[in-house]
Each structure stands twice: as C-alpha cells, then as structure tokens.
Symmetry: C2
Subunit: 454 residues, 2 copies
C-alpha cells in the first residue's frame, strides 16, 4: 500500500498557542477554550476527518523572559491565560469513538505515583485512546512557583525523567497481572492478591514501595510521545518515545532530524520504524491559489510581533526585547541570542534573519513551514514532504484553531484520500493499535516491557 | 417555604466504596466504574432527580492495616482497584447542565500552584459546578508511596492545610481582577497586565511568587466541602467549609454533631446557616414494607465481614483481624481499638458491639443509618431526621450504586416533592448560587475573600 499521511491537531488549552496575535482576527474563536462545547465540536470535527489525535501542548509557567516580566505575554495572549489540558480528555472522549488524545504532562512537577493513577484513569475512560507527551519542563517560572529556586539542570532533568519512567512502567506494566481482577462473586474474590505485586522501587529520586492503585487499562502504558531535541533529549526519546514531533522550516532540516532520530532509536535497540514522526506544519488553503494566498496575507497581518518576541524569548531564554527589532546577528551581544538567531539562519540561509524576521516567522504556526495553496497544491507539497523527509505525518499547527482544522478537514483530507494517501476509516481498537496494528500493549522490546520489579 | 431536603450522591471512582461485599450481588454494576457510559448514565439519573451534586470520595493509598497487608482489601474489593475522581468531572459535566460535582482531593499530595489550575479548569468546563472536598489524608500507605516515611502529624496536616488554602485563595480570588481579560482586538490587548497580580506568597510550607495561570472561572474558588471531625478538623471546617458531611447512626448523635459544627462556624465569624450539612444515610425502599424489608435482608446477606473489617481497620488504624469476630470491648487490648469500638457503643448503647457487629454495621452504607421502608415511611423518616437534627440534606450512600440511586430517584424524590419538601426544578446559575442563592462568589466574610496579597 502507498504510504499514508497521518494528521495530528496541535492545540493547547489556552487562547493563544503558536500564532501570537491571530486571536485578533475577526473569525478567531480561540477565546472559547473555556467552553466545553468548543472542545466537543473540535474533537468531532477531527474525528470526522480521521485525524490520529488531538495533541495538547502545555506549560506550567509563564513567558516572562521578554522584558523580565509577564506583561508582554499577558497583553499578547501568549499561552496565558491557560488551563489544564488533562481535563479536556474525558470531555472529548465522551463525544468521540476513535480520536486519540496526546497530552503534555510535565513530569518534574507531579509525583509518579499519583500521575500513574491519573493516566490509568484516562486510559480507561477513553477506552485506550490516551497518549502522554513526556516533558521535563523548560520554564524557570514554573519551577519558582512550585517552591524551587530554579529548575533542575538540563541533563539532571533527564536523569530524573528516566527514573520517573521506570516507576510508572513498574506501576502500569508489572504491578497487576492480566488476570488479577477475577470478580468471582461465588468465592467473594474481587482481585486475586497473589497476582498484584508491590513494585518496591527505591531510586535516587523516588521511593515507591506499594502496588499501583488502578487495575490495568486497555493500553496499560499510555501511548508515549516525546520530543527531545538536545543530545540527551534525543537519547531519552530514542529509548522511550513511540511518537515524536519535529519542527523545521525546510525539508532538508526535517529530513536530517528524522534520520538522526531513527538512527538513535536503532542504537537504543528498537526498530527505527517503531517511532512515528509528525512534522509540524501549518496549512493555508482556498479554492484558488489567489484565495489561499489572500488568506495567508490576511493571517500574516494579524501577527503580533511583540507577542511573538515574548514567545521566542521564553523558548530560548534570551530577552530579545533588549535588541532593536531590526537587529541582525552581529548586533546580538549574548551567546545564547546569537545561537538562537543562527538556528534560523542555518535552517534558511536565503534570508537575512533579524529579531523581527524570526518573530514573524514563528508568529504564524510556530517553527514549521506554512504550506499555502489549493488543495491539489497542498496535497502535492505534503506528499513531497513525506517522501523526501521520511515523516509519517504532520502535526498541524493553526492560524485560527477551528478554521485551520476545518480547512484541512474539508479540503485537504478528501484530496489526499482521492490519491490513496490518507485513510478512509479508522481501525478498531486502542490508539496504539490504530497507529501500529500490533495490539494495545507496548512492544516487547520497549523498556516499559523490559523493566523488572524485585 | 417549608424547609427543603437536599440530596447528594456519595460515590467513588472504584468498584467498592462503603458497602463491602455488595459487589457480589447479582444486580450489582459497580465494576462498570471504568466505563464512561456508566458515569454519564448515573449523572443523568441524578440530574433528573434534582440532586445537588454527585460527591466523589477518594483515597490515595490502600487499606493495608488489616493483617498488615493489602490482601484483604484486594480480595474484598475495598476501595481498590481505584481511579482518579477528577477525571469524571468533565465527562459527567458534558452530559448534564445542573448537577454539581464535589470531588475529594488530598491537598498534602499536590502542590497548590498546579492544583489551583486544575480546579479553575474544572470550574470553567462545568460552567461553575465544581466543588472541592478538602482532605488532608489519613492513610500512611499513601504517604509512603509518595516518598515520605509516614504522613505528617495530625495537627501539622491542618497547619499545612490552612496555608495551602491561603495560597489557592490568593490565586483564585486575588490574582486576576474581574475585568483583567479585555480581549480588545483593536488595541491587541488580550489581558490588561495592570489587572493581574503576582501573589508573592512566602510561607512555612509554600513559596509561590507568581500569578495564577488561569483566568477567573465562574465561581473562582470552587464550592468548598470539608468534613473534619477532630477538634482541629472542626476548627478547620468551621473556617473554610461551605458544605459538610456528618455520619452517625442515630439522630441524637447527628444532632449533637451538627449543633457543634454550627457553633464553631459562628465562632469563626461566619453565619452558622452558611454551612450546609448533609447527613449520611442509606435508603432501601420498595412498594410495600415487606418488599423493602426483603430487599434490605437480601443486601445484608451480601455483606463481606472480612472486607468490612479491612475497611474498619483502615479507618481506625487498628488491626481488627487480631481479634476474634465476636470479641467485645473487654477483649480488645489496644487503646485505639477500645476507643473505636466504644464509639459504636456510645452511638447506640442498645446493642452489644463486637468486632463483627461493628463490621456488619459499616458493611451496609457506612457509618450512617439505613432507612428501610415504603416511600411514605422513608419520607417520614427523612423529614423527622431533618426536623430533629437540623441537617440540610442527606449524603446518600448506596448498597448497589445504580439501583440505590434509581430507587431514590423513582420513589423517594416524587414523594418528598408531593409533600413540598424537595425542589421540582433547579435554579439557574453556578453550584454555589444554586445552593445559597447569593451569586457565584464566596461570601464576603469568608476567609477566601478576606485573604490579602502584599
């Protein structure tokens, strides 16, 4: 069969995600994020369009690097106000049958014992459609509000993350045997105690002696997403991730990233094809090329450069408000700032990258490409991206959260289906089975299956 | 108007709650707790019967006092396996319009900064129907799995709880002004930064410098439930609680408890009537007295005494498996054990209280009365309970989680409505407004409104 293109919807339980300023567009509906009907409608739209999943980003802090305060982020609606993404899962699950849910949860800020139960519960209530995007946290402001002076060092965060995963794997995979819950009314045995095991975990960061509180859910371990990009992050993702995201403005950059990721997965002793890679992209389409282009220009006019600089500053840790918007790399007096701007230049050397240019670039759809055109042109581009980069699919950012997804559902999905590059129906079964076709459980060679309890 | 009787449904996201062994009944459906449709059906039933709320108990540990292991709890399905109650709220909220949600969350095990966002999110997604049952935790097994050797001392837990509430009050009530979110598209201001305030909390247990991440939800502070019974617990409840639960087998005991609670609320500077008190009860009804009595006897035959002893041991911290089931108080060689058995005897001196008798008593519907009879008899009894004890309503335990609620909805609610003692329709508005008729916010004299930020 021809290789299929997969879609994830990249969203956040907040008014602004990755297109700062677009909330000012007359057709924007993103302020409805506090309205349950908004999420039910969106989930049903995505399911009708056979998306793999809705993927919910999260941060537990604020973007307060720009100007040393949260003011620019507040003014520009940059991922604040912000709500808990996990609460959306049961709501959307109740209104859908197949759509998957990939949710970001920062592991440094919740104990694995309580998080394991939260995740098992969501996997039960979604009937096996819950995925966890493992994040180690990148905002100092989050750490400060949780009583720490600053977050752990970068590599130490990953050491803690490895142990955290050991704990939750033990709880999810090893504490309850498949046949532990017997519910034998005659003998009055709900659970056979000989088939439930204390995990007796004693590590550097965590000590968890007991049993998992929840019985095994359909997938046991939720589908694991992770998107580390540093060397230590890639090593972590190669060990644990079943799905990942890459973002780069050009096919060359994305192709190189994907090749590195698959190689790292192989080095970790897993099948390189057992990692599904979604490349970030924003699709802007219309009936004619002119209409699509006009829509793109209209969106671009709503980018808020100050808000985009607040986002860029938060991501990089560099206060870019200290420089003139037209400053090029020579005028940046910090190593981190030069490195951040150089990454844009490296990805696309055809342009001169100023602070403003970088902000405007991420200002529409974040760090991926914007693909503009008729449905035929967009389908051509997506197929070229997949064929040339080896991406399994796309993590679709939005300009306007509902309109962008509607446009893809109405115009792009049918065009890809006509070409045999997009499924017409969901498989039955859990999210993991839908994606890999090998049942609901982690593959036997995955570290989550290999973990042992004493 | 004649005083109205209120109903709460007392449930848990687990197969067994307070009627250990009843899961073996042929008509039991409690194992469906992992099925989303189960909760949707239950929520819709309770809303049709105009219940105030579904109230979800929780523990974060296991009942491992009996026999020094979790085996008896596992075998008997005593609150294990167990899932996260918070995840049920958006699911049930999506299927209802008026029902309230009171959810237990143990504050010693989640940081107030993350919990505050979780609660704001649920209050948004329920359109102001979220209530929080504040619990400080009572199982050592929970503490051990969260990396502590044992839980904090009893009074220190309440000191920490007072500070925890200060932190969340500051986040919910003081961080965002009512008019902070302006969403002015023309001037590109989503939120006015001058109207969002850092809480700068520096205390004994917590340091939270920043702003609340979420914008104000309909109730801001969720409706507050708390049910402390120790002197320090009553003092805490009197300060914070808007709703509380009492459980006692006789009207005399419950009347005394309620009088003490209301007096403590007055001492704390609040209107004693600003606390709604729900008395725990189990209702068993049928078309005739004989039918109701036969149903009651049928339920009683399904009590699992070993499981009930596991529950009793967990609640009291006394391993009652060390004694013969027929042991009376004279044979109990521990102070705590004698005190636990004495509490039954004090509540109802008309019986001889053995370990088995105490276990069988809590084995059907927990520590409240079981009211058995025709709808007319039950209505008479409920009215007498309310009139004599000053309870505002009842926290209804179940024998079988759906059948018991169905019986109340079908038989008892219409009978009380005929007598003018039960509402026929919900008020519009948030949960707090439905209960108190004074708007969505905490009353101005509540400590949550009085808290100040520097």
């Amino acid at each position: 069969m021809t290789r299929q293109i997969r879609f994830n919807a990249f969203q956040m339980n907040a008014a602004g995600h990755q297109s700062p300023g677009l909330w000012t567009h007359p057709r924007d509906t993103s302020h409805r994020y506090t309205d349950p009907d908004y999420w039910i409608e969106l989930a049903q739209l995505l399911e009708a369009a056979k998306f793999d999943a809705i993927f919910l980003a999260d941060v537990l802090g604020v973007y307060d690097v720009a100007g040393g305060s949260v003011d620019a982020a507040l003014r520009g609606g940059v991922q604040v106000p912000l709500a808990d993404p996990l609460a959306l899962v049961p709501l959307m699950a109740g209104a859908t049958k197949h759509l998957g849910f990939g949710v970001t949860a920062t592991l440094t800020y919740e104990h694995p014992y309580t998080f394991a139960r939260r995740a098992s519960t969501l996997d039960h209530l979604t009937r096996g459609r819950f995925g966890w995007n493992i994040v180690t946290g990148y905002l100092d402001s989050a750490a400060r509000n949780l009583g720490l002076d600053r977050q752990l060092g970068h590599d130490e965060r990953y050491d803690l993350a490895d142990e955290y995963l050991d704990v939750v794997y033990k709880l999810w995979e090893k504490s309850w045997d498949d046949d532990a819950v017997v519910r034998d009314k005659a003998s009055r045995v709900y659970t056979d105690p000989s088939k439930v095991h204390e995990i007796r975990h004693e590590g550097t960061y965590f000590r968890v002696p007991g049993i998992h509180l929840s019985e095994p859910s359909p997938q046991r371990t939720p589908l694991l997403y992770q998107a580390g990009t540093s060397p230590r992050g890639v090593q972590f993702a190669a060990r644990h991730a079943e799905c990942t995201f890459v973002s780069g403005p050009t096919k060359e950059v994305v192709k190189r990233n994907i090749a590195q990721l698959r190689a790292a997965v192989g080095t970790a002793g897993r099948d390189p094809r057992s990692l599904l890679v979604y490349a970030q992209a924003l699709i802007v389409t219309g009936a004619t090329e002119e209409e699509a282009q006009a829509k793109y220009e209209d969106y671009r006019r709503h980018i808020d450069v100050d808000a985009a600089i607040a986002l860029l500053s938060g991501w990089t840790g560099v206060d870019f408000t200290r420089y003139a918007p037209d400053a090029t790399i020579e005028y940046i007096d910090s190593e981190a700032g030069r490195s951040a701007l150089a990454s844009f230049s490296k990805a696309d050397p055809s342009r001169t990258w100023t602070v403003r240019a970088a902000a405007e670039f991420i200002g529409l759809g974040g760090r991926g490409p914007v693909i503009v055109g008729t449905p035929e042109q967009v389908a051509d581009a997506l197929i070229a991206w997949q064929d040339e980069t080896d991406a399994d699919g796309f993590n679709l950012a939005y300009a306007l959260p509902c309109e962008s997804m509607h446009d893809v559902a109405r115009h792009i999905v049918p065009e890809l289906q006509r070409r045999g590059r997009y499924r017409r129906d969901y498989e039955e079964g859990t999210l993991r089975h839908k994606l890999f076709g090998r049942g609901s459980r982690l593959p036997v060679e995955h570290p989550g299956r290999l973990v042992a309890i004493d």
